[in-house]
């Protein structure tokens, strides 16, 4: 299960969009005005790994 993460800024908010290998998208947000783009991308990449684990687990449990 591979998941990529991109982000966009919406005022103070950062919206991270995760996309899995089937093109399905998921998103979450946080207040990230004080963070640099590099910091956000690093954080998004770390979360992408967790999301991939979550998806893999869900697939194993038959939830997907």
């Amino acid at each position: 299960m591979s998941v990529t993460a991109t982000f966009r800024r919406e005022s103070e908010l950062v919206v991270i969009v995760f996309e899995d290998h089937l093109g399905r998208q998921y998103s979450e947000t946080f207040m990230g005005a004080s963070l640099t783009d590099a910091q956000i991308q690093a954080r998004a990449d770390a979360r992408a790994l967790e999301v991939a684990e979550s998806l893999a687990q869900a697939e194993f449990e038959g939830l997907l």
Binding site: S11, T29, L63
Partner: protein
């Protein structure tokens, strides 16, 4: 009421537990014996010097109501802190159960310092009611699923846990809280002496309902407050007047249960600093944040002076015209009974294209029928199987809003349907988003009331 005594300093389970000189030795034996004694509820005094290693997984099942108070044995038995159960170097579950009412003051409860996935588990029985004051719950084990758990799993089970002035601490970044049933926290703190959990509330189920009032979870930093919930049963987590970390993720991206059957998070007046009245609502379809950055200059003000807008962001998954994200209600008392057309001012930042009425709309409720309290509803949503149309253009623009895109914006009015209240009462409005992965700003002030 009888007073029982517990001390690892000089106690013995062969004693009768009725004085310090005849104190019990172990927590499990003392609680189960004292709670089973006739003519209760009784009180168990726990020596503040009590320091107990568990020799295996331990379930303490109270047989009846009991009060357990850590006391200063050499200081007139005044309530204090210091007693510890479960500090051994091996991971063991420490489970507190019993279908009765249990009060605990001043104790530290741990699950060992090993590396196994074990629990400090409070109220693990149908009918359990536990209230803890000035206690520390420390999931000291570093196992990947080690956790502090409240309540009992199971769709037909019910339990209640209340924590007041308690400290929550985890021994690894994988440490977390699991919430079942009803849990209340008042003035509790996530200890900065422990690890900062990657996700604080990692799982729950069966109608989990957490209400945290005046709690400090700022040790979370940029980690996640509420993780994805994959278990069945709606869970609701409410945070009131709490301190959170800078850039905390309030609710993790839903990935496996992409509908509204699982989780809702609401936070009132939360911040890592001192920005008052910050508000949040989130579920699997979208999120609403209050914002002091994008607002209407004559719009809503949280303190009569400082303006506030609402930023509504739909999730990238599953939100649709037929299954939309719905913001919380905005209320205003209205004493008139003449025809009105309430609406919200709305902004799309970064695009001059107006949202259409299958993407964003507003719904209002009012007292539309005489003689009953039942509300009537209007909205400006596209008709089912209808043709989408642009939302109404607003007469307001760039000079009226603050914080929007430098050049590309669309200004709209949402709602504006004629209605006639039959009685005085509340006009309530909310914004609905039927398109995934979009953002709309609104002024959270109901206009058009005259």
């Amino acid at each position: 009421m009888t007073i029982y005594y517990l001390s690892s300093v000089d106690g013995s389970n062969a004693s009768d537990g009725l004085s310090w000189a005849n104190a019990f030795l172990t927590f499990k034996y003392a609680v189960e014996t004292a709670s089973a004694a006739a003519s209760g509820p009784h009180t168990l005094y726990v020596d503040s010097a009590h320091s107990e290693d568990l020799s295996g997984a331990t379930t303490v099942t109270a047989a009846g109501d009991i009060r357990i108070v850590c006391v200063n044995r050499s200081g007139g038995d005044a309530p204090t802190t210091g007693a510890v159960v479960g500090k051994q170097s091996t991971s063991y579950n420490l489970i507190l159960a019993g279908a009765c009412e249990v009060y605990i003051y001043g104790m530290t409860l741990q699950n060992g310092t090993g590396s196994s996935s074990v629990l400090v588990h409070i109220a693990n029985q149908d009918g359990s009611h536990y209230e803890l004051e000035n206690c520390t719950l420390f999931s000291s084990s570093t196992g990947s699923a080690a956790a502090i758990t409240f309540g009992i799993a199971g769709s037909t089970a019910g339990s209640f846990v209340k924590l007041r002035d308690c400290t929550l601490r985890v021994g690894a970044t994988s440490g977390s809280l699991t919430i079942y049933n009803i849990t209340h926290m008042v003035n509790c703190t996530l200890s900065a002496s422990g690890s900062s959990p990657t996700t604080l509330i990692k799982s729950g189920s069966t109608g989990a309902n957490l209400r945290a009032e005046g709690c400090d979870f700022s040790h979370l930093g940029g980690n996640t407050l509420v993780g994805e919930m994959t278990a069945s049963g709606m869970m609701r987590f409410v945070f009131v007047n709490c301190k959170l970390g800078a850039s905390t993720v309030m609710l993790a991206a839903p990935t496996s249960v992409l509908n509204l059957s699982t989780v809702e998070v609401v936070a009132y007046n939360y911040d890592e600093g001192d920005e008052h009245f910050r508000f949040y609502h989130g579920d699997s379809f979208g999120e609403t944040y209050s914002t002091g950055t994008v607002y209407l200059s004559d719009g809503a003000a949280y303190d009569g002076t400082n303006k506030v807008g609402w930023q509504i962001v739909s999730r990238a998954s599953n939100c649709s015209f037929y299954t939309p994200y719905v913001s919380p209600w905005i209320d205003v008392f209205h004493s008139g009974t003449a025809q009105i057309a309430p609406y919200f001012e709305a902004l799309r930042s970064g695009s001059t294209t107006k949202y259409q009425n299958d993407e964003v709309w507003a719904e209002f409720s009012y007292q539309g029928t005489s003689g009953v309290t039942k509300a009537s509803f209007v909205w400006d949503r596209m008709a089912v199987l209808g043709t989408a149309a642009d939302q109404t253009a607003s007469s307001l623009g760039a000079s009226d809003w603050t914080g929007e895109d430098a050049s590309n914006n669309a200004y709209m009015q949402l709602g504006e349907q004629n209605l006639t209240p039959a009685e005085i009462g509340h006009i309530r409005g909310r914004v609905v988003v039927g398109e995934p992965n979009i953002t709309v700003y609104i002024d959270p002030k109901i206009r058009g009331l005259s």
